[in-house]
C-alpha cells in the first residue's frame, strides 16, 4: 500500500514537471520565432518620426512640443532633478549625438537643443530584457508599448536603453502634475517605469502625436515608414538624416535632419 502511494506521488510529481517543462518549451519556441514573423497588420504600418533641427532652430519651438506632450500624458514636473520624469525633452547636440561631436562643430549645432524621445526602435533592447513582458514592441505598428499595471519596477529596461528615454517613478508623481491631472489619460503611481508611447492613444483616434501637432511649422513629422508615399518617406528620400547611436543595431525610428 505504502509502495503504491509512493509510486503515485512520484508519478504525480513527474507529470507536474513534464507539464511545466512543456509550457516553458512552448514559451521558448514562441520567442525563438523572433521579430520577423508577420502577424495581422504587421508589415503595413511602422510609425516613425522625422525631426528637423533647423526648423526647430528657426522657430524655437522646443518647449511648445514638450509642454503639449507632458500635459496630455499627465507627466509630472518634479523639481528634484534625480526624480525627474521626461517623455520628450532636449539635450545638447554632443549628448544626443556623442559620435558626431568634434572640436570644430559649427556653433549653431553645438549650442542647438536637440529634442529627444523614445526612438521606438525596430530592434528594441529594452523589451528584450523585461522579465514580465510589461514592455513590448507592438507587432501591428512597431510602437514600443508599456503596461503600467504589470511593470514590477525592476528598471532593467532603463538599464538596457542606450538613449535614457525611460523614466522611473521614484516618488508618487500625482502631486507634481501641473494644473492637476486630467481624466483623459491615466496617471501613474510610484514604482513603475514610463516613457513616450508615440501617442498610441491618439493614433487610435486618428490623431497625430501631441508633440507633432504642437509644432506648426513641420519641425516634427510623423508617419508610416511602410507607405512609400508618406511624408516621412518623402523627407527621408530628400534629406540626409542621422539616427542616435545607430551603430548599436537598435534601428531607431526617429530620424534627424541636421
Amino acid at each position: 500500500m505504502d509502495g503504491s502511494r509512493r509510486g503515485f506521488l512520484w508519478l504525480a510529481g513527474l507529470t507536474a514537471l513534464g507539464a511545466a517543462g512543456a509550457a516553458s518549451l512552448k514559451a521558448l519556441a514562441q520567442h525563438a520565432e523572433g521579430p520577423s514573423v508577420t502577424v495581422g497588420l504587421q508589415g503595413e504600418t511602422r510609425w516613425a518620426m522625422v525631426v528637423d533641427l533647423d526648423k526647430f532652430r528657426l522657430h524655437k519651438s522646443w518647449n511648445r512640443c514638450i509642454v503639449a506632450c507632458h500635459r496630455v500624458h499627465n507627466v509630472p514636473s518634479i523639481p528634484i532633478k534625480d526624480d525627474e520624469i521626461k517623455w520628450i525633452w532636449t539635450e545638447e547636440f554632443e549628448k544626443a549625438f556623442p559620435s558626431e561631436e568634434h572640436e570644430y562643430v559649427a556653433d549653431r549645432y553645438r549650442q542647438l537643443p536637440v529634442p529627444v524621445l523614445c526612438n521606438h526602435c525596430n530592434n528594441p533592447p529594452c523589451t528584450r530584457v523585461c522579465p514580465t513582458q510589461a514592455t513590448w514592441k507592438r507587432a501591428s505598428d512597431g510602437i514600443v508599448m508599456m503596461d503600467w499595471h504589470r511593470c514590477i519596477g525592476c528598471r532593467y529596461c532603463i538599464v538596457a536603453c542606450p538613449y535614457g528615454s525611460r523614466s522611473f517613478n521614484w516618488r508618487d508623481p500625482r502631486p507634481y502634475i501641473e494644473g492637476g491631472a486630467h481624466r483623459d489619460f491615466p496617471t501613474r503611481m510610484r514604482g513603475v517605469v514610463e516613457k513616450c508611447t508615440f501617442c498610441e492613444e491618439r493614433l487610435a483616434k486618428g490623431l497625430k502625436p501631441a508633440c507633432v501637432e504642437a509644432c506648426e511649422h513641420g519641425e516634427l513629422v510623423f508617419g508610416n515608414l511602410e507607405d512609400p508615399d508618406s511624408e516621412v518617406r518623402q523627407l527621408l528620400r530628400e534629406h540626409f538624416t542621422i539616427r542616435r547611436k545607430a551603430n548599436l543595431g537598435t534601428q531607431p525610428e526617429v530620424y534627424y535632419i541636421v
Binding site: 533592447p125 522579465p131 538596457a160 538613449y163 535614457g164 522611473f168 514604482g191
Partner: protein
C-alpha cells in the same frame, strides 16, 4: 533538526537578539521606502541601480563559492573537506536568501513580484537569474538536509542524493554566469559589455567566498569545539590564492583592452572609477584601497610561509574579502551608470535608510548562518548544550 537552533546559552541569544534589532531597524526603513518609494535611496534617473543590486551581485558570488568545497569533497573524494562542506552549503543557502532579499527591496512594485512567474519570459536574463537562484537554493537545502540527517543517524548519505550533488556543481557556476549576463549583454553599457565579465565574476567569487569560509570556520573553532582541520584550512587558502591570482589577471586584461584601445566610452568609466570624472570621484579612494588590499593579500597568500601562518592568513582573507567587496559590491554596478549613455555624470551615494535596509538583510543572512551552523555543530556533538 530545526529544534537545535532554538536552544542555546546566553551568548547565543544575545547574538540572535542583536541581529533581530538590526533587522527590525532595517525593516522599519523598508516600510518607509515601501510607502514613499525608492526616492529615499540615493538612486536617480541616471544611476538606477546601486547599493542593493551591487550587494545582490556580490552575494551571488559568495553563494556560488560553495562549489569550491563541494567539488573536491564529492567529486574527488577529498576527505579533508568533510567538515567544511556543510558549512559551505549553509553559507550558500544564507547568501541566496540575502540575494533574493536585495532584489526584493530594489523593486519599485514589490507587491507585483509574482508577475515574474505569471508571465515567465525566457528572453529576459532576469528570468533565468531567478530560475537559477531559486533552483540553487532548493538544491542546497535538499543536499545539506539529507546529508546532515544521514550523519545524525550515523548512516551514509542515501545513494539518490549523489547525482543531485553533482548537479549542484555546474549549477553553482550557472548562477554567477547568468548574473554576469544580466550586465554583459547590454549594448547600452560599454563598461559591462565585456565577454570576460562572467569569468571574472567567477574568479572573484571563488576567492572571496572561500576567504569568508576560512574566517567563519576559524570563528566557529573559537566559540565551539569545532575543528576544521589544518589540512582543510590550508587547502582552502590555496584555492583563495589561485582564484585571487586569476581574478587580478582578468582585471588587468580588462584594463589593457579598455585603455590601450582607448575608445572614449570605455575609458570614461575607468576614469570615473580611478580618478573621478567632472568632479564625481567618490569611488576613487576606495578603488585604490581595493588595489592595495589585493596586492597585499597576494603577497601574503603566494608566499607559503605567510599563507600557512594563521595570523597572516586571517589578515589576507580579510584583505581579499574587502578588496573584492569594494570592486563588486560597490564599484562594478555604479560605474556602469557613470557616465550615462548620454554622457551625463551623476552623483550617487547610498543614503542612511538604504544602508540600514542593506544592513538588515546582512543581519538576516547572519541569523540564518547562525541557526544553521548551530544545527550542524550540535548534530556532530561539537557544542555542549
Amino acid at each position: 533538526m530545526l529544534e537545535k537552533a532554538l536552544t542555546g546559552n546566553r551568548n547565543y541569544w544575545l547574538w540572535v537578539g542583536f541581529l533581530l534589532v538590526i533587522m527590525g531597524t532595517g525593516g522599519a526603513c523598508w516600510l518607509w521606502q515601501y510607502n514613499v518609494g525608492l526616492t529615499i535611496t540615493g538612486l536617480s534617473r541616471d544611476v538606477v541601480w546601486g547599493f542593493y543590486i551591487a550587494q545582490f551581485t556580490f552575494l551571488v558570488g559568495v553563494a556560488a563559492s560553495a562549489v569550491m568545497v563541494v567539488l573536491p569533497y564529492y567529486l574527488h573524494n577529498y576527505k579533508a573537506f568533510g567538515k567544511m562542506t556543510i558549512l559551505g552549503e549553509f553559507l550558500a543557502i544564507a547568501s541566496v536568501i540575502m540575494c533574493m532579499s536585495f532584489i526584493f527591496v530594489d523593486m519599485g512594485m514589490p507587491n507585483r513580484i509574482f508577475n515574474v512567474f505569471l508571465h515567465p519570459t525566457p528572453n529576459s536574463m532576469m528570468f533565468w537569474d531567478i530560475v537559477s537562484l531559486g533552483g540553487y537554493l532548493l538544491l542546497n537545502l535538499l543536499i545539506s538536509w539529507v546529508t546532515l540527517g544521514a550523519e545524525r543517524r550515523d548512516d551514509p548519505p542515501p545513494r539518490w542524493i549523489k547525482p543531485i550533488i553533482l548537479l549542484s556543481i555546474p549549477w553553482a557556476v550557472s548562477i554567477h554566469t547568468v548574473t554576469a549576463f544580466l550586465y554583459s549583454g547590454l549594448a547600452a553599457r560599454p563598461f559591462w559589455l565585456t565577454a570576460i565579465l562572467a569569468p571574472r565574476f567567477l574568479a572573484s567569487a571563488f576567492s572571496a567566498g572561500p576567504a569568508l569560509l576560512i574566517l567563519l570556520a576559524l570563528v566557529l573553532r573559537k566559540i565551539s569545539s569545532f575543528e576544521p582541520g589544518k589540512e582543510a584550512i590550508e587547502k582552502l587558502a590555496e584555492i583563495v590564492t589561485y582564484a585571487m591570482c586569476i581574478n587580478v589577471f582578468f582585471v588587468l586584461m580588462e584594463l589593457f583592452t579598455a585603455l590601450y584601445a582607448d575608445i572614449p566610452e570605455h575609458v570614461h568609466h575607468l576614469q570615473f572609477l580611478f580618478k573621478g570624472l567632472e568632479g564625481e570621484g567618490n569611488l576613487a579612494p576606495l578603488m585604490w584601497l581595493s588595489i592595495i588590499l589585493a596586492v597585499v593579500s597576494l603577497v601574503l597568500l603566494i608566499n607559503p610561509r605567510t599563507r600557512r601562518n594563521e595570523k597572516f592568513l586571517i589578515f589576507a582573507c580579510v584583505a581579499v574579502f574587502v578588496s573584492l567587496w569594494i570592486d563588486k559590491g560597490l564599484a562594478m554596478v555604479v560605474a556602469g551608470f557613470v557616465p550615462s549613455p548620454l554622457g551625463h555624470v551623476a552623483h550617487y551615494a547610498p543614503t542612511a535608510p538604504e544602508l540600514l535596509i542593506s544592513l538588515a538583510i546582512y543581519a538576516s543572512g547572519l541569523l540564518i548562518i547562525t541557526g544553521l551552523y548551530k544545527i550542524a555543530l550540535e548534530v556532530r556533538g561539537e557544542i555542549k548544550t
